[in-house]
Structures are given as C-alpha cells and as structure tokens.
Amino acid sequence: MKRNTVYLPVLGVFLIAAPFIFQTRYSQHVLILVLLYVALGSAWNILGGFAGQLSVGHAAFFGIGAYTAAVLASKTSLSPWWAIIAGPLFVLPIALAVGWICFRLRGPYFTLSTIAIGEMVRLVALNWSELTGGAVGVVIRPSVFSGTSKIPYYYIVLVIAVLTVALCQRISRRKLGYYLMAIREDQETAESIGIDTTKYKLVALAISASLTAIGGAFYANYFLFVDPTIVLPLALSVEIVLMSIIGGLGTVAGPVLGAVLLKLSSEVFRNEFAQANLLIYGALLVVVILFMPGGLMGGFRRLFKFGSRKAQRVSA
C-alpha cells in the first residue's frame, strides 16, 4: 500500500499531462488506443481472468456498443455519445442470454460457444442492413467535438480506463473477487462452500460485457465509422484475450501491462516492418508463454519479488 501511495500520484500526473508531452496527433492516437485496450483487457479479465471463463467472443459486446452509437447517430437525433450509457443497457440482456446458454458448458466447450456467439453477432450485423448498413457500414457525423483535436477523446478514454481498472481492483479485494477466483479454481469446491456458481458467473459476465460495450461505444464516437470487419472481427476477441494472457491472467495489473506492451509494440512494428508485424506479435506471445508462465506480472514478481503474494495480503 505504501508503494502505491508513491507510484499512483506519479502515474496520475503523467497520465493527465501525457497529451501535452506527446503532442503529435499520431502519438496521441496511439495513447488513446492503448487506454482503450487497457479498458477492454481489464473488462475481459473480470470474466476470463478472475472467474476463469475464457471468452473468445468479447468482440460481440464491443460491436454491440459500437453499433448502438452508429444507430443512435443514423436513426435518431440523439448524440451517439449516449451509447456509452445505452450500449451497456442493450448488451446486458444479450449477455445474460448468452451466459444462460454458454455457462452450461465448461472449459474448452465454453470457449468454443463464445466464438460461435461472436460470429453470430457479426453475421447479424452484416445482414441486418436496414439497421446496421450491412457490409457498407455506418458513417457517424461528429456531434460534440467537431474539431480535429484528439485531446478530448484522450481524456474520455482515460476516465473509462481508470474507472474500469479501479473497479477491477475493488472487485479483486472483495467477496465477489474471491468467489470468482474460487469458481476458476474448482467449481465443485465452490458449490460445497455455498457459492452459487451459475449466479456469480452471470454477474461476472454482465459486468465484463457492459464495460466492453462502453469501450465499443467510445470507439465508434472516436473513429466515426463502424462496420462488421472493424468492430466485430474474431481477431479483436483474440487480441483482448492475448493481452490479458501476456500481461498476467487474473491480476489487476496484468491486462494493463499487456495492453501497453502489445499496443505500443504493434504500432512500432507496423511502422518498421509493415506486414511482418503480425509475425513479431506472434513471436512475442511465444516468448512470454515459454519463459513467463503467469504472464508479465508473474515474471516481474519472480524477478523483483515485486508485489509478492505475501505483501499483497498484508496490504489487503
């Protein structure tokens, strides 16, 4: 806790000052992407990391959030920014229905079913042209920030990311977090000590999916264009999972580190190596999985005895 009281204010000042330190539009764009993925990775981690339910369908929730903004912009006179509230409200019943079906399955079967859900949502978006514009997509007219400055977007996504990570931190220290970890470790044991595993998995999915939809709603308002290949691809679901695995599953800091490393390196590699960037991305993943079981967080802990389990508990 003492260490946090030193580092957190420094990090806070840096995050608030960042758009003035990095003044080019491109570097600000990269910062916005990094923070968006910090939020997405952390949101996924509640279900995938804490509760151990490896969803590879989170693009569905992201896409529904993004399409909420697109539909608000194209079919109503409301600002697409309302999607940050409306997106999670649309996603919630869908997520609960998905959970009701998919949580009957365990392990790899659950994961496969989430991939199917992701593809179903993508195909619906592709074919329901009256609502979604089909493969052509939807162009969103900017509503609030009509200028070209990226700074307002930076601060909005900063708030989303900080609130998401703070929520993860809070959950990890409370009954909900411990119950989700118990479910991850052994569902029968969890039942035997009074944990309603179905209910708590649904709670984890509801929180995770809603936060992911907020990310999607922001994305649509930032890019001002939505189509199925951008906001609903399987690759997006996979990328969210990879960030958490590389950073460290089930830890609060893991998805944050993973998002920073993967997003920064993929931008650098894209510039330096063009199409070879995916190759390097893959190599990075293999290196982390081989040499750092437990992800970067696990690796750091062993290297520096940094935030060891013992220290964590004393401060809890």
Binding site: R173, R174, K175, M181, D186, E191, S192, I193, D196, R309
Partner: protein, 238 residues
C-alpha cells in the same frame, strides 16, 4: 428431533444399486462414523446429502428442511459442510484465502470474513502455512485445509469423506484430535467416512454405521461394532 434424518435413501446408477434403502439419524453435537470397504457407498451417501447427486428414492431432512432437490450451494448455506475424498483445494489461492472464501458464506464484509478466517486457521493449526499456495501442500495439510475451508462457512454438520486415507500415523492422530475438538469445543456434528475399522476413529465416535454394498449391515457403539460377526465377515470374508 434429529439434526439430520435420512430415510430409505436409495441411489441407482443404471443396474447398480450404490445406496440401498439406507436410514440413519444424526443428533446435534454427535459424531458418527460410516465405515465400510471401498465401494460400499459412503461417498455416494455424502454426495446425496450435499446435493451433488439426486437420490432415486428417499428423504433427507436437515434441521427441519427437506434437502432433496436442493442445489449443493443451498445445502452448504443451510449448514451442511463437506470435504472431498480426493481433496479439492482452490489450488492457486493461499491457505488463508481458501479459508477466507469459505468465510464469505457467512458475511459480505471483508473484515468480518478475515476475522472468521483467522479464527478457523488458528483452530485448525494451519496458521504457519497461511501464505503458502494450497497446491504445494502435503496431503495431511490438504486434508486439514478441506476441513478448515468447510468449517469457515459455519456449518452445523460436517461430512468428512475418507478423513483418514493417505495419512501417516502422526497425521491420523492429529486428524482424529481435530474431529474430537470439532464436537467438544464447537458443538459441530460430524459424519466421518472411513474405509477401515480404525480404532482411533471409532474411539471418538458416538455411533458407528457399517455399510456394505450400499446396505447398512450394522449400527451401534464402537464396542458393539468391533465384536459384530456380520462386520467381521464383511471385512474378512466368511
């Protein structure tokens, strides 16, 4: 009024009758042993009482509640704790966290849950291992952790599946002592499943049930059971 009443409990798996018309009662603060050779149906009885299996026929009443048809977590919250024969620790969590998760069954408050967990970790003498990850513990400690995690939920009755299997003589003595203290200091009833006629376990039991092929073949005090010809036959053959 019994704490646990089991009447005519029967479980069929296809053609196999794993538990056959079993009836028994457990009073408040009583320790009962169920002994029987491997395959006698002890684990099935525990899985039926805790809702992991549904009975083919029969009644299970606990503290005035009908447990048949209830889900395992509801039965746990009603006050029936259990341990697993093949221990199932929450592997990635520490010993203290394992117990803490159990304590959250009684309260949503973090401080209160920690207080309960600290009490249980002291009672079970696991405090020196509090920060160890459950996965690396030796079997004796894992068995004790099973009991501690269940105890933290605040049960009135604990079902201990094969408490003695895999333990060396020192660990067995410690385990028996812990079960005795469960009754004497906490007033918690226990049903202990034991494979062999072990005098150490029988010595602390108020009553002993003997199962063979899913049927109750004898019931009585430890002294009566050790001299019962039917029991001797079940273990040693005719």
């Amino acid at each position: 009024m019994f704490l646990l009443e089991v009447k005519d409990l029967t479980k069929r798996f296809g053609g196999l009758v794993a538990v056959d018309s079993l009836s028994f009662n457990v009073s408040e603060g009583e320790t009962v042993s169920i002994i029987g050779p491997n395959g006698a149906g002890k684990t099935t009885v525990f899985n039926l009482i805790t809702g992991f299996y549904q009975p083919t026929r029969g009644e299970i009443n606990f503290n005035g509640l009908n447990l048949v048809g209830s889900k395992p977590h509801k039965i746990a919250l009603a006050g029936v704790g259990r341990t697993f024969q093949i221990v199932k620790p929450l592997r990635g969590l520490s010993v203290f966290e394992n117990i803490l998760v159990g304590a959250f069954a009684r309260t949503g408050d973090r401080r209160e849950a920690r207080r309960i967990a600290l009490d249980v970790i002291d009672f079970t003498d696991l405090a020196p291992l509090g920060d160890s990850i459950a996965d690396g513990l030796p079997i004796g400690m894992r068995k004790r952790l099973e009991l501690a995690r269940s105890l933290a939920t605040g049960p009135k009755l604990i079902l201990l599946d094969e408490v003695m299997s895999g333990l060396n003589p020192t660990e067995s003595t410690e385990a028996v002592e812990l079960i005795r203290r469960l009754r004497d200091e906490r007033g918690i009833s226990a049903v202990a499943g034991v494979e062999h006629v072990m005098h150490v376990v029988m010595s602390i039991s108020d009553r002993v049930l003997v199962l063979n092929h899913g049927r109750k073949i004898a019931e009585g005090t430890p002294a009566e059971i050790s001299s019962d010809p039917g029991v001797i036959e079940a273990y040693l053959g005719k």
